[in-house]
Subunit: 408 residues, 2 copies
């Protein structure tokens, strides 16, 4: 295989996860130790930053800060949500040419894999040889062809711990507030919502009901379900997805706006259902909306997830230096118990813009809880905790200097 | 001092904290190792349980479960919110007499200290010799005469970590959602809201604005504040109390109901302000409402808080066996750096139904942030983490058997 000489660029896209920086760290450290044929740049704020010329040489960062990305949440080189236009693709290739960038590692979800794929087509069109590899990332776990996505395990662990803790709280206080609703992230796929079930050790324990975006939501059935559990136990813990849909496939609750990709901005499912329970059943309720804490709670992230996030980043560099291009690194599961996985790969165009949902047979017949298959699938992904340096009682996360080593 | 022979009872009251069970553990273990003059009972579900006759002999529990209370959130022997009536006091003394209960340890907030005090008066009235000691508990930190309350440090630590993590998330994504609002617990005192400031390491970092219930909230000033930070940084992180009040001292946002003590049920301050920012400033916003996770997040509780919670419980037993009664154990601060504290005490009637708020001079002049005095005060209280046995990637909390050892 011919060595392609030139520099590399890495960028992050979309909502961060607790471990997206571990993938970044994997890319940078693997590049640096591979006797690679050039510099490793970062596009600051994803594609938008590359287009705006905000590109830095990551070799100029303190190696301790790069290493600290392993335990730092957020997007260390910042990310964006931006739908690339055809003229942007042309401009991007110009920028890559000017900096002799021959390797592009793009860390994101399904929109980003589409962008990466189109960038590769634009490079071919321009007759510019490049190797482009996608690194998967999303708390939503909705990327197809990979057993799971880096980012999911950590968010799932945090949500499950929160359900266990707030479930114990709910059960232990004799007050009027006897229904707790936790609203979980996951636009169209219920993986994070279902993760609440990992909390349950016995039938009495939380959660009791789970409503996923995979199935149409019926308010009538919901109220009947809540009432039944309330009669049995005296308290009810419900986990709901932010993206519940009705029979027609329309979101049950939206705030009206849309994001850069035309996706509906969701909000308020939990709060709306709290009001439904109070007005229809007369039971005082609480709603906990963890919001962005779900995707940034590094203080209780999964070690398994973190290590896999690092490995997918490192593997992307390995693949590119070995001559591969136009693929996304995947995670293949070898076994459940003991859990084992290895990196795999899939063409970018296969994964672009597709969503993976929870299989129907993993959801119970009534559509208000998940089956054992999900537990078997998700449990290993939340194993292990991460050591984080602490200062004054709080995690002492690192910060990269995003102005240092600017190329222009 | 004459030894008062008889049994003891312990009960928990109000909303749980991450460490209320550590105080319970301190009471039980100290009683058991003190060659105490009787059994140690629990009133299951607080005063309501005692009145209903749900009383168990804690000596019958597995000692490993009692010990595990040190790392288990929720109210291990369940709690209630219930305003005791004069006839209840008479009935309670009858129950105590019947079981030869001479010691009563009540773990709760200011309402509970009032209940404990009235119970003591009822016992005196009935000519029944008893020793009653209050053990402080509240995430709100609003009990007077104690430097701080067990429960506050753990909730403060979790909130500060969440602000740091979601603040990094906010800063690192270039999207439309550039205002994040975190709503913190604390009905009339802003201690937990202010705790968000512990997250800040540099001026650019979250939080940027803090609104406390100690000062009247002005929507006009709020919008001007948000707009200014947005112009300077491009993103704004706001921490608000659930109990913001207007110039007249009325809650700005309530859901209409009241609890058993006539306190207004609050909800939706954060969500309401998110809508205000979006409609008035045209900046897309997010609201994170951690809800009961704030008071139950044992997975990131403070070791300092946990150890002090245990000590206040143990000290209550020590005081009672030494002949004291009618007091609440307090925490006295000896020094800030290195942080040192010791148990103190205050008459129950002094503390009953009183609230401690943040001093005006600890809040900045503009009323939109807190001063260094608060940081100096709060920082030591969030130090240290707690080892928790893990199973399948989640904290494996203990459960007491609340039917075992029932006295009737």
């Amino acid at each position: 295989m011919r060595m392609l000489k030139g520099n590399a660029i890495v960028a992050q896209s979309g909502g961060p996860t607790a471990v997206i920086n571990s993938s970044l760290c994997g890319v940078v450290e693997q590049w640096q130790k591979s006797n690679a044929p050039g510099l490793i740049y970062a596009g600051v704020s994803g594609i938008k930053g590359i287009l705006a010329g905000h590109i830095i040489d990551l070799g100029r960062q303190d190696p301790a800060a790069i290493s600290g990305l392993r335990y730092t949440p957020g997007a260390g080189i910042h990310s964006c949500r931006y739908k690339v236009q055809p003229e942007d693709q042309v401009k991007m290739i110009e920028i890559f040419k000017a900096l002799n960038i021959r390797y592009f590692f793009y860390n994101g979800g399904n929109d980003s894999m589409d962008t990466a794929h189109k960038t590769l087509l634009a490079a071919r069109e321009a007759g510019y040889e490049m190797r482009i590899i996608g690194v998967p990332k999303t708390v939503d776990n909705d990327l197809p062809f990979t057993d799971h996505c880096p980012g999911f395990g950590s968010a799932a662990k945090y949500i499950a711990a929160t359900v266990r803790e707030t479930g114990i709280d709910l059960e232990s206080v004799s007050t009027k507030n006897k229904v707790t609703i936790l609203e979980a992230m996951g636009r169209n796929a219920g993986w994070l919502t279902a993760a609440g079930a990992l909390a349950k050790r016995s039938p009495k324990e939380a959660p009791h009901l789970i409503y996923l975006p995979e199935l149409p939501f019926s308010q009538e059935s919901f109220l009947a379900d809540v009432e039944k559990v309330y009669k049995d136990l005296g308290y009810v813990y419900v986990v709901v997805s932010e993206g519940l849909v009705n029979e027609k496939g329309e979101y049950c609750f939206t705030s009206g706006g849309t994001d850069a990709f035309g996706h509906a901005q969701l909000s308020g499912v939990g709060e709306a259902l709290k009001q439904v329970v109070e007005s229809q059943l007369g039971i005082k309720s609480r709603c906990n909306t963890l919001g962005t804490a779900q995707r940034s709670a590094m203080h209780f992230a999964s070690l398994c997830d973190r290590d896999e996030a690092y490995l997918t980043g490192a593997k992307a560099v390995e693949c590119a230096l070995a001559g591969q291009s136009g693929i996304m690194v995947t995670i293949e599961r070898i076994s459940d118990e003991p859990y084992q996985s290895r990196p795999g790969q899939i063409p970018l165009e296969a994964v672009a813009n597709k969503e993976k949902k929870i299989p129907r047979e993993w959801i119970n017949e009534a559509g208000n809880y998940i089956n054992q298959q999900f537990i078997t699938y998700a449990r290993p992904l939340i194993e292990g905790e991460i050591d984080i340096p602490m200062r004054y009682g709080l995690p002492d996360y690192v910060t990269l200097n995003l102005e240092k080593g600017r190329v222009n």
